[in-house]
Amino acid sequence: MSKKVAIVLLVGLSIVMLLAIAELPIYGCANTPVQNYVAERYISGALSDTGALNMVASIVIDYRAYDTLIETTVLFTSIIAVFLVLKKGKD
């Protein structure tokens, strides 16, 4: 009984997901909402703005530096959580 319910649920979920994927823009297509002026600004100005050849690095550490700052804080928090769980009671 529960197996049938699970199969029905999974089929329904996969149909919903396939419908959602069908709505996505085509991969690599130029006329999508993602390719707006922000992407053009990054592609044309990344080298002169930051001087880094790797555009990913210039976006991650220059344009979006706050995100990376919080990301390192997340790593720091994970270490604190591990210490809290594993080193409880040791000096």
Partner: protein, 141 residues
Amino acid sequence: MTDFVLKRMVALLLPFVQMFGLYVIFHGHLSPGGSFSGGIVTGLGLIAFSLVFGIERSEEKITERMTTLIESFGALWYGAMGLVGILRGTSFLMNKGSGISLGVPGKLYSGGLILLITLGVGLKVASTMVTLFTSLMEEED
């Protein structure tokens, strides 16, 4: 683990693994890669050493207090690099606008603060991995 072949192979490969990790960190602004991937590769080298040669040997090389210090230092280093922008009269984490020389694109020194930040975050990620590993291994016994 006392396997002879394993020990010799790790001893042979480890310098190259560490060198590649540091290369990925240092060239994060020139070639694919960056602080996170390079830091993970560097940390994996140290983890492989302590897996094969034992935790005690790796404690001699780099103590747990040292990795914890590097870990905290990396987080603070990022903030300190952000303060450079404030000290030069612009906003937090400003790179070009704060008047730092960007260097010649393609050379190792280029991109202003990017190289310094990548170095700090890479060291931090490496020590994070080592700290996670050692605390998990210590919990075992």
